[in-house]
Symmetry: C2
Subunit: 400 residues, 2 copies
């Protein structure tokens, strides 16, 4: 089990191409180059407060009982361009965020001023730079503001916007060929099923699960259990994309095909063939030079839980997308759980309150029922040689 996880972690990252995106479309994408700011932020001296821009030396000695009168030459609201340069004995009203006029080197907060006749009386001395945000205080022009490989989250979008950057170079999303295999499968758009047919659930669920990882899905449709057709479709998937995920086709009976098709590729390394897990027929993971193929079990409950347990994080590491927050908490079993010997078991469970304590209970249906995942809160892992986990035993409960 751990072998599989280790293999996935050790895979070299696929080389993803680069595309230019509108900043507004770039959320949760990974930056492909160091980004430098084309401007200083702020690019002008601005006031941190509502108050009066002054020459600091003009205020020296000002106190509550020694008001110093200045002549107001201008009102500068946020967004205004100052029209005048301050001379000795002059001041200008500045709103928070407004530009400081030339000649001024400090701001007196409005609380330390009063208007009398045509003068502004200042009641507090300030030193140069007081309440002024200097040019480049936040970002200097030419500084690297965002490093290559950074995930673009909201604060990152904010910094890029502050610097006036409108398009950003990001890595392309990993593209994944997805198909469902099984002659019994029918698209859910068909309204009547024949005996023997069932709706193809995996295409819909895995398509969404893959796009939730920040990857792009190239859906190749339902493939019948025919050797040539499956081989043709896997060929096509590998030609077009670096990763192929298919579900079904791993059963061990006469209908088994996926493995036989993989065996026909030269240079294929079947890294893990048939990890004996439950739920799920053997899970297969193969490498073909730089390309990767996953074959998931056909039962939707198995396919989705295998996807969550093994593939979800792997794809997110590729795309740079944040990993899903997962819970892992040791809890007591409220009921005995049986497990088949010889298979590593991801047992779907639900949590119920027993006298105020949350305990683990098994979901009664198995992987053949689509409702199993729906009613489960998460899963526990049961070792290959554990046959019974007793009521009262403790297990780590994981959310998918």
């Amino acid at each position: 089990m751990d072998k599989f996880r280790t293999l996935l972690k050790e895979l070299p990252a696929l080389e993803l191409g680069v595309e230019q995106l509108d900043l507004e479309q770039s959320f949760n994408r990974k930056i492909a180059e160091d980004i430098k700011s084309p401007i200083d932020v702020p690019h002008f001296r601005k006031s941190r407060m509502d108050g009066f821009a002054v020459r600091a030396q003009d205020t020296f000695g000002a106190e509550e009982d020694n008001l110093i009168p200045l002549t107001q030459v201008e009102v500068i609201e946020a967004g205004d361009i100052p029209q005048k340069s301050l001379k000795e004995g002059q001041c200008a009203y500045v709103a928070t965020g407004a530009a400081i006029p030339e000649g001024a080197d400090a701001v007196v907060m409005v609380e330390y001023s009063e208007k009398k006749d045509d003068k502004i009386l200042i009641s507090k001395a300030v030193t140069p730079t007081t309440h002024i945000v200097e040019i480049g205080h936040d970002v200097n022009r030419g500084d690297i503001i965002i490093e290559k490989n950074t995930l673009i989250d909201l604060p990152t979008m904010g910094i890029l916007a502050a610097c006036g950057i409108t398009t950003v170079p990001v890595y392309q999303k990993p593209k994944i060929s997805l198909m469902s295999t099984g002659s019994e499968l029918v698209t859910h758009k068909v309204s009547e099923l024949e005996v023997g047919q069932i709706y193809d659930i995996n295409s819909i669920v895995l398509k969404q699960a893959i796009s939730n990882t920040g990857s792009e899905v190239d859906y190749l449709g339902i493939v019948k259990d025919h050797f040539e057709e499956l081989k043709h479709r896997i060929d096509q998937g590998l030609k077009e994309n670096d990763i192929v995920i298919l579900s079904g086709g791993t059963s061990k009976g006469e209908g088994d095909l996926g493995v036989r098709v993989l065996d026909t590729f030269e240079n294929i390394e079947v890294q893990v063939h048939g990890i004996k897990i439950k739920p799920g027929k053997p899970l297969i993971f193969a490498k073909l030079e730089k390309k990767i193929i996953f074959i998931l079990p056909g039962y939707p409950t198995s396919a989705l839980s295998c996807f969550y347990v093994f593939i979800d994080d792997f794809l997110r590491r590729l795309s740079g997308y944040p990993l899903r927050a997962k819970n892992a908490e040791e809890l007591e079993l409220g009921e005995r759980i049986y497990s088949p010997i010889g298979r590593y078991h991801f047992k779907a469970v639900e949590l119920r309150d027993v006298d105020g304590v949350r305990k683990i209970f098994p979901i009664k249906t198995g992987s053949e029922a689509i409702s199993t995942l729906f009613y489960s809160d998460g899963y526990i892992e049961i070792e290959e040689l554990e046959e019974i986990v007793e009521k009262g035993d403790k297990k780590v409960f994981y959310t998918y």
Copy 2:
């Protein structure tokens, strides 16, 4: 502070309309009606195993040393329609998931069979129903499969797909009018800034933040600090949508407008006017009959942290979208932090390892710097009357 949070929690849910969506577009939306299954799942008897469909009574007495020969009349792969009805002494090969032919009432696993000449020799007796998944085992036709108000997650999509449901009634997304106010603001699409102008960051960041909650943004653009213009735009926002979010316009100086505009509405209840928090000029939350207005501070760092702390969960509860997983963990301060008396302080902090222990350190820049949020790992809350939090004190560290 808690007053504000309580108010938000007690708000009656907005009445959202209903729309029909393709199942494939419905992820993370909230179901607007109980959904019944139009079919049984499975809608035919199917085999749980690769093996032989038999009449159970024909196998009675079969053991390893008492093989019972049956005549194979058919091979039924998954997806095939059985062509024959089993008679006494007959069997049919069935793959996992394949339909069980009429006349059969059990499946013998392939492991307990061998082929000899033209016969199949059975080495294990089975009771009726063995390894057969009955019609409706998973879902019965007419059952409510998904209840109204359920969030459509991946297992829910799976159940809907299994029942052949192609369109689902979901609640419309909450629609939110968003605008930035400030005469100094310029869209980031303008390439050259004049003195006094800055790029409008909030529209880009809040637009994304709001859509991350499963809401739809109706962006009304940048509004200058003109009373009539702002009133007109807020009017327009309220006419078109139930929630208006604007940033800026809450300062207390001459440029203050948002509050004066709100005061002109009859029947307005300004629920919270100017919670004294830091970072952020007073935050405003007003109700106008069934409509809601939020005025966020203008500084992007303040606007986004106020959004995270106060509004994010509120919008997610409306849309049904999962709440963001937030961390809350008591950690030690690695350095003294000062805080202004009289303001409830959401202090942006970073975590650093000190001899293997994660400790809290203050971010040195304030809310005027867009980089503050970028470099922070989360925040701590400092009470209005706390002026100093000493190195070594413990505080709960929250992620945004």
